[in-house]
Symmetry: C2
Subunit: 287 residues, 2 copies
């Protein structure tokens, strides 16, 4: 039985190698290739591609290079969203993962264009890997105007808006983070073509995991020092940003996180999904 840590240790370097090797071939302009690679290779946890691959694994789908390519497509799209979220017109962040953000390092136009390029390239990798339009439908719906972008729009809209209800904040956080996490699992269930009843278990898990991941991310913001997190922490409250944590407080957020972990475990009862369940252990450091 593979554990989450073993799975992560095996596939993280495979994902990183694919990203680095393939990205270098995707532009005829060495500097533009460098700008894209700068943010993609800045050392993320590769959570979404690992989630996609771990779901495939649980469903008995063999992981070959094309599954790795599709997984990496998700990571490109995630990276685009980080680059654009950091822009001066958005969150105006100078650091990300301990390094200068794209616009601070390369310039604002360059950062906008790197994001604009990574989004369709990620979709292209997914389409070319699996020759399956359904995966394209899932990913584009997840990141489009009823998904991730809508979350970022609401985030801008709710900043410094004290009337924002807890419901609005929950919805905003779901769109910003949950949609792409859910899509990573949903793409795997679509590819595995598993029975609908079985797919529903994984989608339920993905929804609970997506929600819990946002709470975890908010808690990291207050628990870790700036150096550990590699970005500006304690910042959300300063700039008047509302999130579940600023609405509920740390204690209630931790309790909700614990409940979501239990729900996630229950969702996958009876499935051979030890690796997926291991994702929930990530949260130990904020509990």
């Amino acid at each position: 039985m593979t554990t989450f840590k073993e799975f992560q240790a095996k596939y993280t370097p495979i994902i990183n190698d694919f990203l680095e090797g393939q990205l270098a071939k995707e532009s005829d302009d060495p500097r533009f290739a460098e700008i894209m690679a700068y943010s993609v290779m800045a050392g993320g946890k590769r959570l979404r591609p690992l989630l996609f691959l771990a779901t495939l694994d649980a469903l008995g789908v063999e992981i070959t290079e094309k599954e790795v390519q599709a997984a990496c497509g998700i990571e490109l799209i995630h990276t685009y969203s980080l680059i654009h979220d950091d822009l001066p017109a958005m969150d105006n962040d100078d650091y990300r993962r301990g390094e200068l953000t794209s616009h601070k390092k390369w310039g604002e136009a360059e950062a906008i264009l790197a994001g604009d390029a990574l989004q369709p390239l990620g979709i292209q990798w997914i389409a070319q890997a699996e020759h399956n339009w359904k995966l394209v439908e899932i990913i584009t719906e997840a990141v489009g105007p009823k998904g991730m972008v809508a979350g970022q729009y609401l985030d801008i809209d709710t900043t410094n808006n004290e009337d924002s209800s807890e419901e609005v904040i929950d919805h905003m956080e779901w769109l910003k983070t949950g949609c792409l996490i859910l899509a990573s699992v949903q793409m795997a269930t679509a590819l595995a073509a598993c029975p609908d009843q079985q797919a529903q278990k994984y989608l339920a898990f993905a929804k609970h995991f997506g929600r819990s991941y946002q709470l975890y991310d908010d808690l990291v913001d207050i628990v870790e020092s700036q150096e550990e997190a590699g970005k500006a922490t304690h910042k959300d409250q300063e700039v008047g940003k509302n999130n579940s944590l600023t609405m509920l407080g740390a204690e209630a957020t931790r309790n909700e996180l614990k409940q979501l972990i239990e729900k996630g475990k229950a969702d996958l009862a009876g499935e051979k999904a030890e690796v997926l369940l291991g994702f929930l252990d990530l949260y130990q450091k904020v509990l």
Copy 2:
């Protein structure tokens, strides 16, 4: 025999109705839907969707609502590129098609996000319309880091750079404008599944048309008054922007345009492509 003008008169309102009706359903936030629709419905010529539909027509493919949806997907992607090109960090334009640009009207973050949303939504419409991953491959390659975005990157890189050779400028203009025009025709040949030899004729036409369209656009910049063009004209030279026209001069540009028109006609000799050939008549006003 349908003429270009008849085809245009029939399908332009169909395209506009689809765009307006469908876009309103694509966001749960009325203001964000309005921001997207503002730029999409600002009155473009719908050149790319018409080119896609006219190629289908020439190849004997019946045009139903799903072909209109795929055509409109191309227009969403084109609109995203206009919104981002106008941003302060890029061309910093205040007007487009006679109206305030998106960031002047709604704010910079809003404009970035409207573009970020229209790009995947356009791809989604294409994927959902035809259930064909090949179309997704064609469109994502055309707008990604070896296509349209690379052109915009080169454009920023070459502005005020007097060393830029004519070759670099040609390449930049091809990427910025030609790639998406070629993709509009290529998606139609892929959908029609016509013999490769026949497809090659249409792709050759698309390449000549794509190149000629950029020359036309540069000539409009000096021929029309600002009021007629609906955007700032005579601007390229002022801001030190290199294009074929500033490199070659107006007379040589007109001559090249005339030659490209003849080549485009020759490409489609023997095909029932009267509507497509009619696109070349657009250029009369600058000749």
